[in-house]
Amino acid sequence: MTESQGRLAENILYFARALRAAGIPVGPGSVLDALAAVQTAGVGTREDFYWTLHAVFVKRHEHSVLFDQAFRIFFRKRAYIEKLIASMMPQAPGQQPQAPKPGAQRVQEALFAGLKELEQKKSEVEIDARLTVSDREVLQKKDFAQMSAAEIAAAKQAIARLRLPLDEIRTRRLAPNRRGHLIDIRRTLRASMKAGGAVIDLKYLGPKSKAPPIVALLDISGSMSQYTRLFLHFLHAVTDARKRVHTFLFGTRLTNVTRALREKDPDEALAACSAHVADWSGGTRIATSLHVFNRQWARRVLGQGAVVLLITDGLERDGEDTLAFEIDRLHRSARRLIWLNPLLRFEGFEAKAKGVKAMLPHVDELRPIHNLESMIELVRALSAMSAKGYDPKTMMRKVA
């Protein structure tokens, strides 16, 4: 009996390792919990055993599928486990797939096209870091698409240095505040107690404010390829400065890269992003991607007054009927929807493309984002609520 229990403990330990390799975060505490749970429930039927382990190891709905596969394969034949890890986790550390997928190659190219070149020009970059004032001005206004590798490196550093002012919304939570409007009776009483109850020194409470969540939807299709890399750097800087930032990439399908962008080092974060995405520099299906976002994510990430940054050129391949519907849906579930369009840099940009026409009536703000200056302006705009100068209605009037 004890021997079989020993074997069971061992099996659970190995199974936990397999789960970890498959991408479910399982700590040593969970293994002990699992043992306790199995001892409590007893190993009756296979189904009970399954749900007992499920109760302890799975902490997210998404992990249920992984758990299911792992369980089936592991408890059928142990030898399958290496195959399992290899098949479920192509990006597992130290487990390189034999031949990189064509998508991965594209990702690599798209992300690190300038990297080798950049390394060679390292000395140049160091000089760039000490740019003169006029150089800096040039850099601020230069279009990202026309930058050299060295200039891109300098721009990246500038992005990393961006000061992000806290865009704040009032929450319903209260905090001690001298100019507050509510009397904090608890503190007042304690303070007056010190004086023996003779003097009552009123203390106040005021509403606490807090940075709202930011949700970024970044178009990574071919037409945006010159910009995506720097935008990702920008989003990484924003993620680093704020706690609640969710980032999604879309080309032909939607990918959530929020966790990848939480890596501290920007290059590691971007590498992690590239590992997740299969549709780099391909076509754009804005409506389909927004539809997936609206259905699967909107209710989970758009709570608590979120600001949505939609970064796309609006050149859509899908039918524009559904696009108008989806963007309207998105607009109604977000507190503020800002459309960042790099094409807006052209003086004569007009809302002629069908996709652009469909999207314009449903956004709160339309801004250019093609150089450092516009990026800095965006950061500033995030802290103010007005859309001065960037109201999409002016653009619509121009067309009409």
Partner: protein, 306 residues
């Protein structure tokens, strides 16, 4: 103890729930049984209207324990969730002390910040001893509150204790049965989930939904109940913004019985669709022809099964 002891096996857990009219599947019974036996909080996540809150209510009813409910909302703070001082009574006490000429400040402070002046809110109530055994603590819709409150809950759920600066630490002699629910309008932090046993409550399959429907509405006609369940199951496969939950199925079946409907027809379905679907987009999507098509499919399926 007047309350019943917790069940001793997964089967008895299933029976216990069934006795109170809650038809659970075996996975839910397993995780519930483990939570009860191991004294761990149970974290239930799932779409609205699949019966998450109901579990806590059924537990409290069948085990004969008190149900203490903490409904979360944005801005929920310690004063509303744990405790608050009764300031008015404190003020009067201070004034009385003055009138009597009590000059001992230490004593006055000690008297005023004693348990007599403490208003206990749900979390503190749950930690107190109860004659019928540890209560059921329901922390409902935790995703509505903010991260700060979640962090505070960590202490409560890990050690079942809270600290009141003026009084000291209150620790539960017996851990309450904790059920935490979330609609997933935002992700709850992993640290909190780690302390709980997690379960995703999904939509039931047709067979189980039929049993639930008949348990909740015993008077419903056999044919109508079958059609209702099959139609709702079909509706869940449609591309909708919000699929109808079990609560909506029950509401709809109830509405149809009130209207004396014995079998579904397209017109009745279209007229009562607002009971099932709560978004205008979804109702617009399910127009007359679509409803008719789905209904025909449902009817032919049921005929084939007979």
């Amino acid at each position: 103890m007047t309350g019943k002891p917790v069940p001793t096996s997964i089967d008895s857990t299933l029976d216990l729930l069934a006795k109170a009219g809650y038809i659970a599947d075996r996975s839910l019974a397993t995780v519930l049984f483990l939570a009860l036996r191991m004294g761990r909080p149970l974290f239930l996540e799932g779409e609205a209207g699949v019966g998450k809150t109901e579990i806590a209510k059924v537990l409290s009813a069948t085990l004969g324990r008190r149900l203490i409910r903490l409904q979360c909302y944005e801005g929920l703070d310690v004063a509303a969730a744990v405790y608050e001082w009764n300031y008015a009574a404190q003020m009067i006490s201070i004034r009385l002390g003055e009138a009597e000429g009590t000059s001992d400040r230490e004593r006055l402070e000690h008297d005023v910040f004693s348990e007599r002046y403490l208003i206990k809110r749900p979390l503190l109530q749950a930690l107190e001893p109860h004659p019928e055994g540890p209560p059921v603590l329901l922390i409902d819709e935790i995703d509505r509150t903010d991260e700060a409150f979640e962090a505070f809950l960590l202490e409560v759920l890990a050690d079942f204790q809270v600290t009141i600066p003026e009084l000291g630490t209150v620790k539960a002699a017996h851990a309450p049965i904790v059920v935490v629910t979330s609609n997933r309008t935002r992700e709850v932090h992993d640290a909190l989930k780690r302390r709980c046993l997690y379960h995703w409550v999904g939509y039931p399959n047709a067979e189980r939904e039929l049993v639930i429907l008949r348990a909740k509405l015993p008077g419903i006609a056999k044919k109508l109940s079958e059609q209702v369940v099959a139609f709702v199951q079909g509706l869940r496969k449609e591309d909708l913004f919000k699929s109808p939950g079990v609560a909506e199925t029950l509401d709809w079946a109830g509405a149809l019985t009130e209207l004396d409907v014995v079998a579904l027809d397209p017109a009745t379905v279209s007229d009562t669709l607002g009971v099932l679907l709560k978004y205008q987009d979804d109702i617009a999507r399910m127009d007359g022809t679509k409803v008719k098509k789905l209904l025909d499919e449902v009817k032919s399926e049921l005929r084939a099964a007979e």
